[in-house]
């Protein structure tokens, strides 16, 4: 099989046998990732729908519970995640300009920010456990006792929990990409893998950007 369009100096095993050119393969990978992101958004859409329904049903309880969340922690976490999105974008920029070492440093920074996010979230969760501000049948929070409060915490834990799972998944993806970067796989000739990892991380960030006002800023 001939690959006339194969650029010189590309590491082994990047262009799969069934693609006629690297451009075509990059196009396929990007389209695949965007479609996957669409499925992720629809996965969260179910929870957002639930949120809309119950906030409409229990507006007072939702506002009251929201006021008892740790708004400082939520705000810091928003900044942390947005910054981590920036460092991922920088990593792609450096990889494209053939600076793999700088790209790797940016990826490490992103992973640290992600850990920081999870740490702050863990502190918040601990507070909720101490206050018994727990979902559904475990709800025994003394300060808010109106109907619908338990529902708020059910949704809060489901939404931030599912988002947390995505943060962990994103960290695994970024760690794999970091390993590939250190191997020297990404350069100005080929950086699609890194780009797709970045896209996924932006999605994780974007979901949080919707969760933050809906949960903390009512």
């Amino acid at each position: 099989m001939s690959h006339e369009a194969e650029p010189l100096g590309l590491p082994e095993g990047i262009l799969a046998h069934h693609f006629s050119s690297l451009d075509r393969q990059n196009e396929a990978m990007r389209l695949g990732m965007w479609l996957f992101l669409a499925t992720e958004i629809l996965l969260f859409a179910g929870l957002f729908t639930g949120y809309a329904v119950y906030r409409f049903q229990f507006p007072l309880a939702f506002a009251e519970c929201s006021r008892h969340l740790n708004i400082a922690a939520g705000t810091v976490n928003t900044v942390v995640l947005i910054t981590s999105s920036f460092t991922v974008a920088l990593a792609i920029h450096f990889a494209r300009s053939d600076k793999p070492r700088a790209a790797a440093i940016c990826l490490v920074l992103t992973l640290l920010f992600a850990l920081g996010f999870l740490g702050i979230k863990a502190v918040e969760y601990t507070e909720h456990f101490h206050e018994h501000a727990l979902p559904g049948k475990y709800y025994a929070f003394e300060e808010v006792k109106i109907p619908g409060a338990a529902m708020f915490y059910s949704l809060y834990f489901l939404m931030t929990g599912l988002h947390g799972v995505h943060v962990v998944a994103g960290m695994s993806v970024l760690s794999y990409i970091l390993w590939r970067t250190l191997q020297g796989r990404y350069s100005s000739k080929y950086y699609t893998g890194l780009e797709l990892g970045g896209l996924y991380w932006h999605l994780v960030d974007l979901v949080w950007i919707f969760l933050y006002p809906l949960l903390y800023l009512i």
Partner: protein, 549 residues
Amino acid sequence: MRLSEADSQALAGAPPAPTYLEDGTTVMSWLNTRDHKRVGVMFLASVIFFFLIGGVFALLLRIKLLQPGPFFVDAISYNRMFTLHGVVMIFLFLIPAIPSAFGNFVLPLMIGARDVAFPRLNLGSFYLYVLGAAIAIWGMIHGGADTGWTFYTPYSSTTPTQVLPILLGAFILGFSSILTGLNFIVTVHTLRAPGLSWMRMPLFVWSTYATSIIQILATPVLGITLLIVSVERVAGFGLFDPARGGDPVLFQHMFWFYSHPAVYIMVLPAMGVISECVCAFSRKNPFGYKAIAYSSIGIAFVGFFTWGHHLFVAGQSTFDAGAFGILSMFVGVFTAIKVFNWVGTMYRGAISFRTPFAYICGFLYFIVFGGMTGVALATTSLDIHWHDTYFVVAHFHFIMVGASVMAFLAGLHYWFPKMFGRTYPEGWGLVAASLIILGFNATFIPQFLLGNFGMPRRYYQYPEHFQALNVASTAGATLLGFGFVIIFIYLVIALKYGSRSVPNPWGSKGFEWMTASPPPTHNFDEIPTITQMPHDYRTHEPPGVIRVA
């Protein structure tokens, strides 16, 4: 069979490249394959296996229903069996049957590609299927669930049966389905052969593409819904529990947002198979190619806005019910466009009445009947009478078995020589097809009547005056079962002892016949250049292609 000119040319010109079946014969070479054809064959074997399991459950249910009172099994086992029948048939057979088995095998061949866009992901999709199936089966062995395949809350979050593994299994199976759909969309966008414009794409590819859109956009919503029910069972979150302020109707909305479009995941690929077979066995160009292609997309689109017709008696507002009812009828319009065009394709064609054509006839009759009862059910006033009766059961079996399984069988016979290079016994094929079509009618027409007389679905006991029709239905199901057993036996024998087939036994001009049967591992020695429409019977050129010298 006499070789046509095109076949002899193909035979003479083909170097003895190993077929995909000969390229590595160890078990590992199958389990670790990246070849879309092998993944397709593994899916095919799995879905047929689960079809047999689901079929056995169906027969056991019909045996119980021979008697109005307690008989053969107790009530709780009966509830478990209809749940498992539904779960197995829908999640393990109907949804993956045509897209994952036939789609994987023929879609890349039809568009002149060497593989799907992401071969590893494709294999991953198969293993997710196996994992999901294993978890669900584990749950069934350890007691099974009694909720019905619809898992309606709050019953599903409180019943003591094993709902959790089945929810989890369905959740994982959903991801298998998503990955297959994603792969097909990307494949169609990026791997079409030169000259294969959208308006030259085979109709099976169009309908599979439409199916993939639904798989990608609807399945995640089912995923999150099942996840919430699981969390509710384990930790009492109460989102769907009225005792905690939750709304069980919200579950129904979210469930049917997936599960109604899922009906089109089951039937759209079936329509694609029929579009291919109608042309091949009428030896005629598709009549109204664009209408068939666009109506697939139309069904995929409008299918997202019909879910509310499952909630007519669930406290939905009259306005909603009316809107959902009218939107549901649009599906009937698109389906009717297709039926008209299939019949138009047959008109004045040179029909060869082989086994696949027998199934086409069955399919057309069933989809018209099933579709018309569907339009009737979409009418709110009628639905209130028929809701949750055997009328609904008969209606959706007409679509899911009558349409989808007929198309599955048509495809199985049409592509059997393509996949395995063997021929099946035509006489037995026609005998089995007649048995199945007859048996199907005998099974489900009595159920239409029972439903209209008011017999509710899923009930263990029924009044004695319903017995005669129930016995008729069970007799029909037995015929149906015999038909499937005959097919299973002769196809297994044909796999090993069937006479060798020529590369294109039907003289079909479908693009998947551009390459040898069975195809070599890389499908094409040289990527073909497409210069024709699919199924262009006006010329004597080989299908689809005039090779560039």
